[in-house]
């Protein structure tokens, strides 16, 4: 579904990704772990098209993404929950979610909305509040719901558990599982490795912009929970 080949990303003088290669098969959930500054967000943003690739290729559903702009990629079926929430602060909660389902048509939109309301009752309760007024964790839910609202083929989640209470982590995990059951392919990063590992099928350990280890969750679990990968 997603093949990243020798991808390099630079910010001015800093090289964030040094020829990284990663593959995500259809229906898989792949977890990226690594220290702060390892380059996880850079990778996700490069797939989304928000930062340009210096070299290397990104293929999605057998098509080369490099010539596609960010919005084209989104419309090709990639959903995205950015690091640090970034909800649309002056839009209401409902409008935030519907913005995620932009251009799907009314029927699909209301379908998505009612599905998300079921998973996250908060969205229904606070539908008319401005998203910028929500608490940090509540915003995180909105950002996730927004990413899921278009029922994307590939879902990019950058630290979805950031700032969530344990009980909410469980709820979000449930929603992610529901996405998995729909056959969604997921690429995620997370510092809270333990709950994330429960969701993932495979994982990559990233360090200094390169892949250190990769394999099924069972194989990298210990590594991810230990300190060595730093």
């Amino acid at each position: 579904m997603l093949e990243i080949d020798r991808l390099e990303v630079r910010y001015g003088g800093i090289t964030a990704l040094r020829g990284i290669s990663i593959e995500v098969k259809e229906g898989e959930t792949v977890l990226l772990v690594g220290a702060n500054g390892a380059g996880k967000s850079s990778l996700i943003n490069a797939v989304m098209g928000l930062v340009p690739a210096e070299s290397g290729t990104i293929r999605f559903a057998n098509a080369d993404l490099s010539s596609l702009s960010c919005d084209r990629r989104a419309r090709a079926g990639i959903g995205y929950a950015p690091e640090g929430r970034r909800v649309f602060p002056s839009l209401s909660v409902t409008d935030n979610v519907l913005a995620g389902a932009f251009g799907l048509g009314r029927a699909r939109q209301s379908e998505a909305l009612s599905w998300l309301h079921e998973s996250f009752p908060l969205l229904a309760e606070r539908g008319n509040q401005l998203a910028g007024q929500l608490s940090g964790g509540e915003q995180q839910i909105v950002a996730l719901a927004r990413a899921m609202a278009s029922f994307p083929k590939l879902l990019l989640l950058d630290e979805p558990f950031l700032g969530l209470a344990p009980v909410w982590i469980a709820r979000i995990s449930e929603a992610i599982r529901a996405m998995q059951r729909l056959g969604t392919t997921i690429l995620m990063t997370e510092q809270m490795a333990r709950p994330a590992l429960k969701l993932a099928t495979r994982g990559y350990v990233i360090r200094g912009g390169e892949v250190r280890r990769s394999g099924p969750v069972a194989e990298i679990r210990d590594l991810a929970l230990a300190d060595e990968y730093l």
């Binding site: 989104a74 995205y80 839009l91 932009f102």
Partner: protein
Amino acid sequence: MHGIISAGIIGIGLGAQYALLALGFTLIFGVLGVVNFAHGGFYVLGGYVGYWAVSSAGLPYPVAVLAAVVATAALGYLFELVFVERFVDEQLATMMLTVGLYLVMSTGVLAGFGPEPADFAFPVTGSWHGGGFFIPWANLIVLGVCVLAIAAVYLVLYRTDLGRALRALADDRPVARAQGIRPHLLFPLAFALATGLAGLTGAVVTPILTLSPHVGDSVLATSFMVVILGGLGSVTGSTVAAFVVGLIEAYSDVYLGGSKGALALFLLVLLILIAKPSGLFGREARRA
């Protein structure tokens, strides 16, 4: 008593006119964050296109209004695409661009139509008289257009994907793009919508008042005042503020005279903003 009611009727008439004026301005300003100094220019251009269509092309007035909307919208679309788009996040730069555009536009109109007021008359004349009061028919028509346009803009902005997408783009462009929203398509469109509204206002209002190349100057100030007083980006807010300003203006002008009335109006607006620093309907979206 009679005087108070008459002044109220006048205030509502002014309010409708201001609301219509402010609408396009809110759209560009509240949604794209661009302070459009050329707003008055599009108003004047709308008036002149309408005038040209009626007097030179011989079109019926409603068609002329339509032509004005189309022409101003097209110009707005082009301008945003060519100039504003590159600077859309820099409020100061876009402001300067629109200042430049305004100067060019008003010179163009002056060169094309000359400095004298144009002979552009509203097709409907006369007033409705009743109970000792009167309302010019033209004002009633403007009120109708105003209500329709506000309803349309409100629906577009708050009930459609397009409106949502525009507001999302204004909040956070990269993330909005990552939802599949196309800024290069939508921003010019929004700009066109807004300038088209200014053109509509011009085509409808200038025949009631006057049409000359410089009637746009004061339009800008009024729209600006109404939009901010209402609270940034709030269509409801700017509509309410338009009628508030219209009524204050009517009463203060009638009871204090034109010059002192203007002073009273400005002082009141100043006081309102000091008491309510984010406008009548402003909502503080971001927090610590």
